[in-house]
Amino acid sequence: MSPGERAAHVARSSYGRLLAILASRSGDIATAEDALADAFRLALEHWPKNGVPDNPEAWLMTTAKNRRLDVMRRAARSPVTTVEELPDFIDDVEEPEDIPDRRLQLMFVCAHPAIDAGLHTALMLQVVLGFEAADIGRSFLVSPAALQQRLVRAKRKIKDTRIAFVIPARSDMPERLASVLESIYGAYALSWLRDATAQDMTGEALYLAKVIAGLMPQEPEVLGLCALLSFIHARQKARGGHQVYIPLHEQDPSQWDAKLIAGAEKLLVQAAQTQNLGRYQLEAAIQHAHMLRVRDGATNWRVILALSEGLCRMFPTAGAHAERIAAIAEVAGAEVALNELERFQTSLESVFQPVEALRAHLLAKLQRVDEARQSYSKAISVTVEPAVRQWLQRQADGL
C-alpha cells in the first residue's frame, strides 16, 4: 500500500474511533472534527516523505490533540506549537490497545431522542465515518447547504445541552438501540435515485452494521440487522445496478456474494441462540428464505408465510403486510390474497407503492386484465425509482 492508500485505509477504520475519543469528554464534536481533519491532512503531507508510522492511529490521535491544543492556545492568545511538534514515530503516544473503542457511545449520541430523528442517519455518516455533508446530500438527494446547517446545529446542541457520550442504562436500552439500528437501516434504504454519479452509501451502512455487531455481539437485534443488510447487499451485483431492476426471483444466484451470505447465516444462528426474536432477525430470516427458495428450492412458501405473519405481529408495517400477502398468494391462491389485500388497503391512509404493485400482480394472475392495467398505472404513477418504473411498465405491457 502507498502512503496515500494507507492513509485512506486508516481513515475509514479509524475516523470514528478517533473522533469518539476526541469528542467524548468535552462533547464538542465540531472542534474534534476540525482537529482530526487537520491531523489527516498533515498525515498526507508527512507520511509520503517520512514513511508511515508503525502506529498510524496513535500518530493521528496525538497530532489531533496537539492541533486542538493549538486552537485553544490561539484562542487564549498564547504561543502556538509548530508542525515540528508532530509526534516522532511513536514513543510517547498511546498504543493502539490504549485507544478504546467509543464508537458505540458516539452512535448513541447521534441517534439520541433529543436530536431530530430525520438527522440521525446523516449525523452518523458524518461523525462516525467522516463523510462531508455535500457527499451525503448528493447520495440522498438532500440540499447540501441545508443539511450542513442542520448538522452544525445538531452538533452545537449535543455540546451545549451536554448529551452524554455513554451507553444507555438498561431500562432505556431497547428504545435507544432501536433508534441507532433504525438510522443504520435508513442509510441503506435512503438512496432512492440510483444515480451513477452519487456515492453509493449502502456499503457504508453495512460497514456501520458490522461495527455495531462487533461491539454489541450480545444483542440479537444488532446481529439481526447486520445479517439483514448482508443478505440484501449480497445480491447487489445480481440486482442490475441503477439502470435496470431485476427482482429477486429473476436473479442469477451465482452472482450473489457467497461469503457475505455465509457470514449472515452465522450471525442469524448466533442471534437465535439468545431466543429473543425481533424485527430485524425476522426480516433477515425472510430474506434468507427467499434466497434459499430461488437458489436451491430449499424453502417453501409456507415457511415464508409463517415468518411474515410473525413479522406482522411484531412489527406491523405496510411492507410487512405486503410480504405476508404475497406469501398468501403462493400458498392459498391469488383470489384469497387479493381479498386480504383489499381488506388491508382500506386501513392505509395513502397509496403504498409495494401494496399497489402487488395488487396489480394479483389482478394479472386472476386474468382481470383491465383492472390489472389500471392498478399498474397507479403503481407506476407513485414509483419514483426509474428502473422499478420500467420493470412495472414491462409487466403492464405484457398483459
Partner: protein, 117 residues
C-alpha cells in the same frame, strides 16, 4: 392534472454559501429535475429571488394596492416552485416527498385550477 410545489425554506440555511456550495446545490436539484423528466412528469420550475425583493399586490376593496415585501413573514419563505403533471394527488405527493426541499423546509402542493375553469 398539473400540481405545483411551493418550496418554503429558511434563508438562514443558505446564507454564506460559496460558489462551490451553490454548485453542489444545483447538482442535487439537477438530479431531481432529471428524475422528474425521466418519469415524464416535469413541467416547470424556478428558483426565486430572496423574499426581501418581494412585492405584494392586492385588488381587495376594488383598489389596487402595491406593497413592498412578502405576503406573510414567517421563518420559512417561498424560495422556488416546481410544476409537475401527474394523474392524481397520490402521485404528486410521492414526488413532493422526494424533492430535496422536503428534507429541510415545507412544500405546499397545489393542484392546477386550469382544468376546472
Amino acid at each position: 392534472m398539473r400540481y405545483t410545489f411551493l418550496l418554503y425554506s429558511n434563508p438562514a440555511d443558505f446564507a454564506n454559501l460559496t460558489p462551490e456550495d451553490w454548485a453542489k446545490e444545483k447538482e442535487v436539484y439537477g438530479a431531481y429535475i432529471g428524475a422528474l423528466n425521466q418519469a415524464g412528469v416535469f413541467v416547470s420550475t424556478d428558483w426565486l429571488q430572496p423574499v426581501e425583493t418581494a412585492t405584494t399586490l392586492t385588488m381587495a376593496g376594488g383598489k389596487r394596492q402595491v406593497q413592498d415585501g412578502p405576503f406573510a413573514a414567517t421563518r420559512e419563505t417561498l424560495g422556488g416552485y416546481f410544476v409537475i403533471d401527474v394523474p392524481d394527488l397520490d402521485a404528486a405527493l410521492a414526488w413532493a416527498e422526494k424533492c430535496p426541499a422536503a428534507q429541510y423546509g415545507k412544500i405546499e402542493v397545489r393542484a392546477s385550477a386550469m382544468d376546472s375553469m
